[in-house]
Amino acid sequence: MKSFDYVRAGSLAEAVAAASAPGAAYLAGGTNLVDLMKGGLTRPDRLVDLTRLPGLDRIETLPDGATRIGALVRNGALTRDAGFAGRYPAVVEALLSGASAQLRNAATTAGNVLQRTRCGYFYDPASACNKRSPGAGCEARGGITRTHAVLGWSEHCIATHPSDFCVPLAALDAVVEIEGPTGRREVPFDVFHLLPGDTPERETALRAGEVVTAIRLPPEAAGFAGHSRYLKVRERTSYAFAVVSAAVGLRLEGGTIADGRIALGSVALRPWRAREAEALLAGRAPSPEVFAEAARAALAGATPSGDNAFKIELARRIVVRALTLAAAGTPGRMPALPASPFATSPTAGASHHA
């Protein structure tokens, strides 16, 4: 690991000032950044430690019913907050399906959102990668591409965003609160992460020196609590990144869907909100046919970026399964295997052949 200057910020203003130096990076939980630094993939000259900043480790209910998750709230702490889990069960199910308990206890809200892709070529310093070295090329193209993107990719980058947490946040219309050299601003969650285009080195809407201070869930996000799920297909039962995942929420009124939400994970370089599919749900009664129609619409623009056409059909099926389970109702107790489509509990419902 390259050596670096260490600055412990005592206030947001101090942090932003310290991070304005070239080569500076913000440090919070370190679960992604320290790993990248050990691999020589990120080589900051200065780390600005945010962990002592006051007031950013709170989960607050705002007067209008919105919930603000402070940037420094640890993922593990968020899963153990009973009030939060009751209002946003799919967010907690997504968090619990990701990483390990040890990593969740260190990783922060903002750090999870800002984590880098797990593309094997990005992680291999010997491979060409346009994210690491703009213009170098993308060695993933034509390589081992089973888990790469099927939506929103470009010839310059076919990586995916690996976060589970981000998928329900996109579905629930979360807002990213930001502070920076030019003051405060907000960015809607589903456009916070940038698609690669011809600048895959640009990953988020953050500008130089800006810092995420909170993620806010709007008042209506809690309206999906009774009918929401996160489902995640993995290569092994636990402690693995998603091959494909889906977060869904339904607001049912008198037997019809008043509002439906669908977002997909690990299919693109951003958590993928499927608004066209959602529009097909509105005003309809839940049924296998309606769910299948929505799933087709969600993947309508998908194309394989390599040897991964199976992910398109897999994503359709996981959308149908998630909607079916959500319609049946959010489980009263978190499943033993959060987000698993193969949960052994008989109350988990759907068959393996959605």
């Binding site: 690991m1 050596s3 670096f4 200057d5 260490y6 600055v7 412990r8 310290a18 440090l27 370190g30 679960t31 320290v34 790993d35 050990k38 691999g39 200065r46 780390l47 430690d49 962990t51 640890r74 593990g76 153990r80 990483a99 390990s100 308990a101 040890q102 990593l103 206890n105 260190a106 039962t237 636990s238 402690y239 978190m334 033993a336 295997l337 959060p338 052994t344």
Partner: protein, 187 residues
């Protein structure tokens, strides 16, 4: 403001003992600090990248991977390592349960497994009210600790036994010491 070439003093409480430490380099992780500076080699360096869990310790009561934790960022923290878990010669119920159930073979991952299990049982949620722990929830909760010998069956049994012993002990002797040690021999 840069401190990389300066000495950085930090204070840690390690297994109940306050330690003043001067870091000469901000790159030092808690794992390297424990092993190389404090001669506490219980926490193991397996992958050193947050994947295997062999370095699991408790920091302010929660389990984390010490290999990804920069020491300088944890100034003031309280650490519990395997060396601080037993109460003198009396093993912690989780340690005793690993012995009773052959929860290991080579032993390299065991300190991390045991501290992870201590935290898992403390987090709750393994059992319905008053019932036994669910083996599936134990396996899921322990999935951040890899065992290359494949002693998983014994590890799961050990956590189930420890959960039962600690739940029983907590009902009959609620005065658990801060380190998680019980005041009676619950094993």
């Amino acid at each position: 403001m840069g401190l990389s070439i300066m000495s950085i003093p930090i204070t840690l409480t390690v297994n109940g003992v306050r330690r003043e430490i001067v870091l000469e380099d901000a790159r030092v992780t808690l794992l390297d600090l424990l092993r190389e500076r404090l001669d506490l080699t219980g926490a193991k360096k397996g992958c050193d990248r947050g994947q295997c869990g062999a370095c699991t310790i408790l920091v302010d009561g929660t389990r984390i991977n010490a290999c990804l934790a920069l020491a300088v960022s944890h100034d003031g923290a309280s650490l519990l390592t395997i060396e601080g878990l037993a109460d003198g010669d009396v093993l912690h119920p989780v340690q005793a349960a690993f012995l009773d159930n052959d929860g290991f073979q080579c032993g390299f991952c065991t300190p991390g497994q045991i501290l992870s299990a201590v935290a898992l049982i403390g987090e709750g949620g393994l059992a319905e009210e008053g019932g036994p722990a669910d083996p599936e929830r134990v396996r899921e909760g322990m999935s951040g600790n890899l065992c290359r010998c494949g002693a998983y069956a014994g590890i799961t049994q050990a956590v189930l036994q420890a959960h039962a012993a600690m739940t029983h002990a907590a009902m009959h002797a609620p005065d658990v010491l801060p380190g998680g040690n019980l005041t009676e021999d619950a094993a």
